[in-house]
């Protein structure tokens, strides 16, 4: 391996407005099994200590390192340089507030999202420390887990046309979160209550169905299926409420 890689990296520090946004170029010799995590750290340590980017687990599980890599949102820590051409262009994820350079504030966006969908089990039951746990079918537990594997990396949001123009759009990730609770028998919310959260332009009706989201999801979440399921369910609920017959049909 003897490639010299060229990195074009977006630079801007909003706290230092005297210096305008620009692209900076860095050169690095490629080593065996190099990832963007290794490359960016080397650039910071050897060439420019002010370079801002985010990593945490560096193992593809925490979602911290989402960025636009040669035009496509992805996780930098599990992107290998050998899968990229010699020139690598890195940009911060759009749709989120820029902290600086490649670093964006996903935390605020996701916190607002999970406050809106009330991302917790709604139940009237009190926990009884002396009782056995409530039973659950293992197959169902695994299905819930499949939808819970989202790591809130923000790639799907960055790839979504609606999310870019509507800051209040829940995104495929928010709709997936709702689907997770609809599936969970511990959550006592009715279809009508779910409809109130997602049956609008911020939710399911804002989605244009182009599926940029599912294509980029590094966890391979079945976002398309959840969007389809919600659309059908919500259309049905809307119809029911038009006819005025909303009995508390609980899932």
């Amino acid at each position: 391996m003897s490639r010299i890689l060229t990195f074009n990296i977006f630079r801007y520090n909003p706290q230092d407005p005297g210096t305008p946004p620009r692209m900076d170029r860095f050169m690095l010799d490629e080593t065996d099994r190099m990832t963007l995590f290794i490359a960016l750290n080397r650039i910071r340590e050897e060439q420019d200590p002010s370079l801002m980017f985010d990593f945490c687990c560096r193992a593809g599980i925490c979602g911290a390192c989402g960025m636009v890599i040669n035009g496509r949102p992805g996780l930098a820590c599990h992107t290998k340089t050998k899968d990229l051409p010699e020139t690598i262009t890195l940009m911060p994820l759009p749709a989120f507030k820029l902290v600086g350079d490649l670093s964006v504030d996903t935390g605020t966006w996701f916190r607002e999202m999970y406050q809106k969908v009330e991302s917790w089990v709604h139940t009237s039951k009190e926990f009884d420390p002396a009782a056995l746990e409530e039973r659950m079918d293992n197959g169902l537990a695994e299905e819930i887990y499949e939808l819970e594997r989202c790591i809130e990396c923000g790639c799907c949001v960055a790839a979504c046309g609606t999310a870019l123009i509507r800051p209040d759009f829940l995104g495929a990730v928010g709709l997936n979160r709702i689907a997770r609770f609809i599936l969970d028998p511990r959550d006592e919310r009715t279809d009508k209550e779910y409809f109130e959260i997602v049956g609008n332009d911020q939710g399911i009706f804002g989605c244009m169905g182009l599926l940029g989201c599912e294509d980029v999801c590094p966890k391979g979440l079945p976002l398309q299926d959840q969007l389809g399921m919600l659309r059908r369910k919500m259309a049905f609920t809307a119809l029911k409420s038009l006819v005025g017959k909303h009995k508390h049909a609980h899932k």
């Binding site: 520090n13 909003p14 706290q15 230092d16 099994r33 990832t35 290794i38 910071r44 340590e45 420019d48 200590p49 002010s50 801002m52 985010d54 990593f55 945490c56 687990c57 560096r58 193992a59 593809g60 599980i61 925490c62 979602g63 911290a64 820590c77 599990h78 050998k82 899968d83 902290v99 600086g100 670093s103 996903t106 935390g107 996701f110 916190r111 999970y114 406050q115 009330e118 917790w120 089990v121 139940t123 926990f127 420390p129 009782a131 056995l132 746990e133 039973r135 659950m136 079918d137 293992n138 537990a141 695994e142 819930i144 887990y145 819970e148 594997r149 790591i151 809130e152 969970d184 959550d187």
Partner: protein, 605 residues
């Protein structure tokens, strides 16, 4: 200067921090959690294996109970733990596991009927009972007499942390992310909160609280090779040590895991070896049977890590730009087994190494994994030295792990400790009146502001923070790794002392404006070197081998002289920590004895 008041300030929003905050919020107090990253990115989310609780629901867990869990935990700790705490822990673990189920964790459940499992590469059959159907099931983990580790597929930490954060949001716990506590505010007897740097703007803020909790996770990143997240660099420990009055306990007890992948040190599970994987050297020879004829690759974590290191030191390592490593071979397990039972390993190899483990060897080396030591607390989670300061989770030395923690026991600890310590914090808050001395607060802020100015202006020097960190990595990897001896430790301590001084002369290369990452490291680097010194100096003085602490020159576990816990404090201006010792446990349910694995001689008390 922005000042934020609360009843409870949690420095850390991982499982431990949030669980304590939830307890306070449930009792009507307001709680604020701080985190360097969004709460859900905390390292708790990286745990895949699971968490131990003696529910005894699954077939291989039958007959389990808190007493069995207790015995495993005490043996695991090599009798270094506080047995009162271990008892509280095992009795509470089943309750918190069920509570997590009620809050929404999709635990895997018992499926009745016959199923297969592997042990030592061989296939066996078990039968799950019909009457247990749908209850929380468990899997096997190292050092446990029963299958006791509850799990959600391969994402236990992820699902538990997301559920915890949901619960915290529901109860109105406030989480401020992208902030970093850089010093505690105290008057030498009481803790009043923390000075915090915002990592979005670079501004300083003050958080004042009646009670402060350090739940900042491990400090693995003082080692170059670690399975820990890059944010686990001991910031919470540093601010405790900087008070000069709060001791850190058992800092020399550092756990290494045999199979971190090279170069990124991501963990591949013990299951690879459990299912029959082997370790190979540069000549593709299997070497473990030479050292451990009986157990070979299946000896305990510390034992395997030790022999791997010996073998590489003899020159049998594979050379790479990232240093020497060995190979893990799972090819013979077959493609079906790898793609299903070891799905996560399969994915890690493909995503991070670009190799297919069904056909290629996996580069591995022993890697720092867990910090048993931390902020020393009593059994109520109250830190020694300052009233109003608590600690929980991996950052704490509460101390149920002693000198070696068992897999699955630390995730469980975060939640159990959160429950127990949370209640003690509530008791404290009920009897507490807030007194914040503005002189003390102003002085604490001024001190941090002055440090930042000095780093920016390079008024103390222009040493590079990155260069100091590299030198610290070299020193600690060499002197205080898996094997330790007097000569190397002495050299390590001397090198680190020189680095401690160098760290005092750090100055920034860049302008340090806003959330500048060079400044973030520069503010912490001297503290990190101090932590390294606590590890190395504690290890130098402890002339025995216990759990993960292995002295080549003192191979025996010496209960006569060392059945105790090291306490390290750092007086202002000192160049070494001050060490003192206390009994490992006040109560013995199980007197010191043989662990039943790992070999080694014991000098009895």
């Amino acid at each position: 200067m922005q000042t934020i008041y609360s009843d409870l300030l949690c420095i850390g929003a991982g499982l431990a921090g949030e669980r304590v905050a939830i307890e306070a919020a449930s009792a009507g107090f307001d709680a604020v959690c701080l985190s360097i990253v969004p709460a859900r990115r905390s390292h708790s989310s990286a745990a895949q294996g699971g968490m131990q609780a003696a529910l005894g629901n699954c077939a291989m867990g039958e007959g389990d109970g808190p007493d069995v869990h207790f015995a495993d935990t005490v043996k695991g700790s090599d009798w270094g733990c506080d047995q009162e705490v271990a008892r509280l822990f095992v009795d509470t673990a089943p309750i918190v596991m069920r509570e997590l189920a009620a809050w929404g964790v999709p635990w895997n459940r018992v499926v009745p009927g016959e199923s297969k499992y592997f042990k030592g590469g061989k296939e066996f059959t078990k039968v799950e009972k019909k009457e247990k159907e749908g209850l929380i099931t468990a899997r096997a983990f190292g050092g446990t007499a029963k299958w006791r580790t509850c799990y959600t597929s391969d994402g236990t930490g992820h699902t538990v942390l997301y559920t915890m954060d949901n619960r915290a949001a529901q109860l109105g716990v406030v989480v401020h992310d992208r902030v970093e506590a850089i010093s505690l505010i105290h008057d030498g007897t009481r803790c009043m909160g923390a000075v915090v740097r915002c990592l979005k703007t670079g501004d300083l803020r003050v958080y004042l609280a009646k009670a402060t909790l350090i739940a900042s996770g491990g400090f693995g990143r003082i080692y170059r090779e670690s399975t820990n997240a890059v944010i686990n660099d001991g910031g919470g420990h540093v601010i405790a040590l900087d008070t000069g009055v709060v001791p850190l306990g058992n800092m020399e007890a550092v756990q290494f895991h045999p199979t971190g992948i090279v170069p990124t040190d991501i963990l591949v599970t013990e299951g690879c070896r459990g299912d029959g994987g082997t370790l190979l050297d540069v000549n593709e020879n299997r070497f473990m049977p030479e050292y451990e004829p009986d157990k070979a690759e299946l000896a305990s974590r510390d034992v395997v890590s030790r022999w791997m290191t010996v073998h590489m030191q003899k020159g049998f390592g594979v050379k790479s730009p990232y240093g020497d490593h060995l190979w893990l071979d799972i090819r013979h397990l077959g493609i079906d087994h790898i793609r299903t039972k070891l799905r996560e390993v399969d994915e890690i190899c493909k995503s991070f190494l670009g190799i297919d483990p069904a056909y290629q060897l996996i580069p591995v080396r022993p890697t720092q994994h867990y910090s048993m030591g931390g902020v020393r607390t009593n059994k109520d989670g109250a830190a020694y030295g300052l009233a109003g300061l608590f600690s929980a989770g991996e950052s704490a030395c509460w101390d149920m792990h002693g000198f070696n923690r068992l897999g699955g026991n630390s995730l469980a600890e975060t939640v159990v400790a959160g429950n127990i310590i949370g209640k003690k914090v509530v008791d404290y808050l009920k009897g507490c009146e807030a007194i914040f001395n503005s002189k003390v607060v102003d002085a604490a802020v001024a001190k941090q502001a002055a440090r930042i100015t000095a780093l920016r202006n390079r008024s103390n020097g222009s040493e590079s923070a990155y260069a100091v960190r590299e030198a610290m990595f070299d020193a600690i990897m060499k002197g205080a790794g898996i094997f330790r001896n007097e000569k190397d430790l002495t050299e390590c301590v001397e090198t680190l002392q020189a680095l401690h001084e160098r760290a005092g002369r750090v100055g920034l290369k860049s302008n340090g404006v806003g959330p500048n990452p060079e400044l973030t490291l520069a503010l912490k680097i001297q503290g990190m070197v101090k932590l390294a010194l606590c590890v190395a100096y504690g290890a130098l003085k402890r002339t025995e081998s216990r759990g993960s602490h292995t002295r080549e020159d003192f191979p025996e576990r010496n209960d006569r002289d060392w059945l105790n816990r090291t306490l390290a404090t750092w007086p202002e201006g000192a160049s070494l920590p001050e060490l003192s010792y206390e009994a490992a446990t006040k109560v013995f349910e199980i007197p010191p004895g043989d662990r039943g694995y790992g070999g080694g001689k014991i000098i009895s008390a």
